[in-house]
């Protein structure tokens, strides 16, 4: 499967990712540094003292030069720089830890998305125009019509307030963070709230793709062979229907990443998304740019992964 052509393709895509990440990070670097105010506003330092602080952190240099220094830090020391809010704290370990928390949430949301979306889509298609179809399609429509923060708030209301003895208050992460990734109970509601929107879309596309594929001649061939219905649906129909589903996995991952910013703030999950929002308010430039850059890298690799998944699902696609 990993032919020479595929390797060359991956190489080209990696170059493209590097290019994209440079452009994105420079863009956000320039924007963040142009925000009114500075990192030390809350310290109420002025005049000479401020100049000394700015100089100490290299913030008095022209922006392209600052960017260059920031890139040098990453390349030479693998460091995203230091925090300006908690002055001098190296942010790399912090960000990586938050990334792991977010990855946990995002991964769970992706499982919810794909699991629910594909299951619902297949069931709705197989039982087209029955009550099962109408019910699942309706859930999907609700899924992609209602914003995730509404779902999240409703979830907190229902499970956190009305059914509190069910969750034992496990909906909120302890502050400060205890270092655990949260139990299944802690993770499930945020993950569902985050994955609900995208699962609605996956349901819709899976259903449409399945209905199309079921009409194909090769499904009739599979039935004529005397295969069991389950085998026909899963092995023959779903496998083909996954091709269009895969094509929206890229946007799905992006939805989950951007959605996680909202969800983490609602549930108080100490992940990248929460840090991202806080760092903007705190003028903690390095954190903002660092998190943004990580997002750019994640999205770049997610899209590459999707394109490679294509080749696994459909042998006709080769690079």
């Amino acid at each position: 499967m990993l032919t020479r052509g595929t390797l060359i393709y991956i190489g080209q895509r990696l170059v493209l990712i590097v290019f994209t990440v440079v452009v994105v990070s420079f863009g956000v670097f320039a924007v963040v540094h142009s925000l009114p105010g500075n990192a030390f506003v809350s310290d109420r330092v002025h005049g000479q003292a401020l100049q000394i602080l700015l100089h100490e952190y290299g913030l008095d240099l022209p922006i392209p030069l600052q960017y260059w220094n920031w890139v040098k830090g990453i390349v030479l020391h693998g460091s995203l720089g230091v925090s300006l809010y908690i002055r001098g704290l190296p942010i790399t370990p912090l960000v990586l830890r938050e990334l792991s928390v977010s990855a946990m949430l995002g991964g769970s949301a992706l499982i919810v998305t794909i699991g629910l979306g594909i299951t619902f889509g297949v069931l709705a298609a197989v039982r087209q125009n029955s009550w099962v179809d109408y019910l699942l399609t309706s859930i999907a429509v609700v899924g992609y019509s209602v914003p995730s923060f509404v779902i999240a708030s409703l979830g907190i209301l229902i499970f956190g307030q009305w059914l509190n003895n069910l969750t034992q208050g496990a909906l909120y992460y302890p502050e400060p963070w205890s270092g655990t990734y949260g139990s299944l109970a802690e993770l499930s509601l945020p993950a569902i709230a985050l994955g609900f929107y995208t699962s609605g879309q996956i349901t819709r596309i899976t259903r449409a793709a399945m209905l199309d594929v079921i009409q194909q001649d090769y499904i009739r061939t599979a039935r004529a062979k005397g295969l069991q219905n389950r085998v026909v649906v899963i092995r023959h129909a779903l496998r083909n229907a996954l091709v269009p589903v895969t094509s929206i996995l890229g946007p799905t991952v992006i939805s989950i990443i951007t959605g996680s910013v909202v969800i983490e703030n609602i549930f108080g999950i100490p992940g990248l998304g929460k840090e991202f929002v806080e760092s903007i308010f705190q003028h903690d430039y390095n954190v903002t740019v660092g998190v943004f850059t990580i997002y750019a890298i994640l999205i770049g690799f997610a899209n590459l992964a999707v394109d490679l998944v294509y080749t696994v699902i459909d042998p006709r696609i080769r690079y």
């Binding site: 194909q216 001649d217 090769y218 009739r220 061939t221 599979a222 039935r223 004529a224 062979k225 005397g226 295969l227 069991q228 085998v231 092995r235 023959h236 496998r239 083909n240 091709v243 699902i313 459909d314 042998p315 006709r316």
Partner: protein, 373 residues
């Protein structure tokens, strides 16, 4: 030829659409005998494929078998539980489809798709499946079979795909093979190879074959007996030589006449059958072919003829060629002028001119298209 391996009795299959009941197959009766090659011919939409799909229980909603029996080994396939029918499908009765481009799953390897047919049933021992897959591909003359079996369908040519389809159909050594337009999408040389392959199978393995096609040349090349369908009904059946020699139903005659001939006068236009097959939701009263029939008489518009014997093992459903109809019309004045008068049966062949005269005398005017009410 004594015992039928498959008996189709009074089969009617309809599709229940928003516009009404589409009667795709109506009261079809036929037997398939052991080791026989039976052709099923007719225009598109005449019910050939639906008949085949009904046999295998593959008619999907909104289609439904509304009446009839399909008897295989003493069991009625129509009333059989789904799971039992699934076990017969692909095992005892296999089907290969037209358009090998779309009939193979594009994301699964050819070998996998062949092996899968064997794994679904218990006829081939599990440890022999892989080897048999390769052997089958060799048998259907796919070159370099051991290597090609790992290919995906898109790496196969059209002819090879059809061969792979046939290999799949034969994998469980079925007693009956239904081939639905197996050569339609292929060029002529490949067509000939595929037909030869089917012929060998029939002769060497004794597989009974139902060949569905609109290509009469293909029928002539492979089949011993032929059934002609029109608008969901059988209009004529009999031995191939006999039907080609003296077709008794005007539809069969028209079909044969419309085959382009290489020795025909170049200035002559291609002959076609005027008009279109009837709307299967609102069938015309009387004979379904009457609106297009050049030989029709008044009776054709009011009464639907049934299959009657018109020659040795040959039956047709047509008032014009039926002894009984002539008798009713006062056969005396017609018998003298008919070719084949000795048998009392009048083949439509060569009667065009005389019928034209009669049309002026007896036949009602060409019907206006059914008015929308």
């Amino acid at each position: 030829m004594a015992n039928p391996v498959l008996q189709v009795q009074d089969l009617s299959t309809s599709f229940f659409t928003g516009d009404g009941e589409v009667k795709a197959v109506r009261n079809v009766n036929f037997n398939l005998f052991n080791g026989e090659t039976l052709g099923l011919v007719g225009e598109s939409g005449c019910g050939k494929s639906v008949t085949a799909m009904s046999i295998l229980g593959l008619v999907q909603r909104p289609g439904k078998i509304v009446n009839g029996k399909i008897v295989f080994k003493g069991q009625d396939l129509v009333r059989m539980p789904a799971e039992e029918l699934r076990e017969i499908r692909g095992r005892d009765i296999a089907m290969i489809f037209q358009d090998p481009l779309s009939s193979l799953n594009p994301v699964l390897r050819v070998g996998f798709q062949i092996d899968e047919a064997m794994k679904a049933h218990d006829k081939v021992p599990a440890d022999q499946i892989a080897q048999r897959g390769v052997d089958l591909l060799k048998e259907v003359r796919v070159p370099d079979a051991a290597r090609r079996i790992k290919d995906y369908p898109h790496q196969f040519s059209g002819g090879m795909r059809q061969r792979a389809m046939i290999a799949m159909g034969l994998s469980n050594r079925p007693e009956i093979l239904i081939a639905d337009e197996p050569t339609t999408a292929l060029d002529v040389t490949v067509q000939a190879q595929i037909l030869e392959l089917l012929r060998d199978l029939n002769q060497e393995m004794g597989t009974s074959i139902i060949l569905i096609t609109h290509n009469l040349g293909v029928v002539a090349g492979l089949c011993k007996r032929v059934i002609v369908m029109y608008a969901g009904e059988i209009v004529e059946e009999g031995p191939v030589d006999q039907i080609f020699e003296s077709p008794q139903h005007p539809y069969t005659w028209s079909l044969l006449r419309s085959i382009p001939r290489i020795d025909a006068d170049r200035r002559e236009r291609l002959k076609s059958i005027e008009g279109l097959p009837p709307d299967l939701i609102a069938l015309p009263p009387g004979c379904e072919f009457s609106p297009r029939c050049p030989f029709r008489i008044e009776k054709c518009f009011t009464q639907d003829p049934e299959l009657e014997t018109v020659g040795p093992a040959q039956r047709a459903a047509c008032w014009v060629t039926m002894k009984r109809a002539y008798a009713e019309m006062g056969a005396a004045d017609i018998t003298d002028t008919r070719p084949g008068a000795a048998s009392g049966i009048r083949p439509p062949k060569g009667i065009e001119a005389r019928v034209a005269d009669r049309r002026e005398l007896n036949a009602p005017p060409l019907p206006t298209p059914a008015s929308d009410e």
